[in-house]
Subunit: 341 residues, 2 copies
DNA sequence: CTGAAAGCGCTTACAG
DNA sequence: CTGAAAGCGCTTACAG
């Protein structure tokens, strides 16, 4: 280090005050004289002083950093969620340490351990699994934590989630009305609450609306696009293939779409397709994709708002956001002749 | 804080050694006896000790954190870039502090100042503008910095960029071969190097291949999708509208696509469309989108590799990655009868 | 191989 | 309103 780094002592010296007074001015403590304030601020500006966040955090046990654990930043849903959370946090004076679990339990724990070591003021997490030791370590340290999108059974922290049930029910009803009786469901991983909830909702709605509950019609994916194309491939190879597909998230829907295209199937005519998650460009596909939509912007924003309440000693309640079906052309009837039985 | 936090002193006490020895064991210093190692590791594990990263950083002037400044995480190109950089960093033992400038100079500076205060070990940035005071402060402190995707004229740091020229040239040649003579170019912001470079390449290639250089055919967007739809709308309203559009990034291409769809234009027949950036699902559109492709995974990985070299005292050279045209159906001829003149 | 001691750069009771 | 002093939790020459 050739250029010695500027410390608060340099600022204090130049301003002709003690480090204590300089510290008070710079942290907005009102117990300062206008004269001191003027000189300290001038000195800090002239020296281009950037306070050492490590030293500040070490002493004050506040870092103004929140940890944001996302399961897969390349999934546009989580990219949007991260964006919404990050912008909300920034507006409130917090910077965001982003951990990308990459749908991988080991990486998730790696980042949670990092959050603990970095002494973040709080964590917003879209967790997977059943509560690893890293997650328990986080909670044992009473680090304020909010779950977003996903939860973990038996771990009682505030959360912001989507009520998938309504949207999925509408989707199944819609498919039934279109005359479908065999629907392929590409499920999310059962190690996630959303994977489990959406499958449960689907299974129940299928039964209620007279859609086949043949277990062969359920394919278990991992929320990533590759498993969507594998799933579509598998389902179409069944001896009694489905006439429509419902994918539990958008990357798997994209994967399924790629398979259908490769096979030369006409979406909405040869094969219906509905995706969970509304992504901007899904409406630009030809045909536009029918989706189950939920409000990702609100989800990210509210998660950070709950976290700030928690950090400030409050006891916020969990929030559940609605989901709803948006019907577009991809779910057109497979065979309009087949009436509901 | 009810539960007192565990420190290295607790670990040392339980292991029956000094904090110095505990520290040596935990940081892998070889000057330790097997006996000490065994007992310190056991104690740390039993107490679930997570070293305070602030304290460690304050003393050792290493944080093992790198700052990653992206211009817009919702842009899939940058989401992929962030993912690639983050995974590479993680494998090398660094965690990533993600700053999202949101294509906004003020937010960019906010994050750069944060990186300085957090004393990150290095920065990977996709910068915009001409070199703000925050950016200069970063460099004045000799914080290792690498530019990725974009650069700033007159600021000499290693970078990983794409040579847009070749891909754009191929795209223009292809459009000319298809008989197009009036092409609408939706440019990126001229405050970014990529916005400027791509426009320059386009203008030169248009001239070389006999495509109109009418300035009315250039629309200046901001790399976000809204400006793409505005741009398409504007260009189609010209008294002599273009027969094809070339968008300088993928969100603007998505925006243009939305406008074309709304107007009921058939892509690839009524209007050609080419996008800079290859996004997974662009090939799933109907018709699939012709794109100028470059290697985002390599870009993120190499950027972090260069940064690590820099952090370790090396003097890495900048890397320029190639771009190339991938022809799909969206750039089909506007009017196949028109021969090249 | 080990420990005592100093110090990284701040903030915060404490006393005035 | 201000300053001297202590201390946050580590690491690292230094001496042995």
């Amino acid at each position: 280090m050739t250029t010695r780094t500027i410390t608060i002592k340099d600022v204090a010296d130049m301003a002709g005050v003690s480090p204590a007074t300089a510290s008070r001015v710079l942290s907005g403590n009102p117990a300062t004289s206008p004269e001191s304030r003027k000189r300290v601020i001038a000195a800090a500006s002239q020296l281009d002083f950037h306070p050492n966040a490590q030293a500040r955090a070490l002493r004050s046990t506040r870092t103004n950093v929140i940890g944001l654990l996302m399961s897969d930043v390349r999934n546009p849903f989580f990219a949007d969620l991260a964006h919404s959370a990050e912008q909300t946090a920034l507006a409130e004076g917090f910077v965001t340490l982003l951990g990308n679990a990459n749908e991988n339990a080991v990486q998730q724990d790696r980042y949670l351990d990092t959050f603990i070591s970095q002494r973040v003021d709080g964590v917003v997490a879209a967790p997977e699994g059943m509560g690893s030791s890293s997650l328990r370590a986080l909670l044992a340290r009473e680090i304020p934590t909010v779950f977003v999108d996903r939860t973990i059974d038996g771990i009682d922290v505030p959360s912001v989630t989507t009520d998938s049930d309504n949207g999925i029910r509408q989707a199944v009803e819609h498919l039934a009305q279109q005359g479908h009786t065999r629907v392929g469901y590409i499920a999310g991983p059962q190690a996630t609450s959303t994977g489990r909830d959406r499958l449960r909702s689907y299974a129940k709605a299928a039964q209620d609306y007279g859609i086949s509950t043949d277990p062969a019609l359920i394919y278990f994916g991992d929320f990533q696009s590759r498993s969507g194309s594998d799933g579509a491939h598998h389902l179409l190879s069944l001896s009694q293939p489905p006439t429509a597909l419902l994918a539990a998230d958008s990357p798997m829907a994209v994967g399924a779409l790629a398979t259908l295209n490769r096979k030369g199937m006409r979406i909405g005519r040869d094969m219906g397709l509905i995706a969970f998650d509304d992504i901007e460009w899904f409406s630009l596909l030809d045909p536009p994709l029918t989706v189950i939509s939920h409000d990702v912007e609100a989800m990210g924003r509210i998660a950070v708002e709950l976290l700030l309440e928690l950090i400030n000693g409050g006891q916020p309640s969990s929030v559940v956001l609605p989901s709803e079906l948006i019907i577009r052309a991809s779910s057109g009837t497979a065979d309009p002749v087949v009436a509901r039985t």
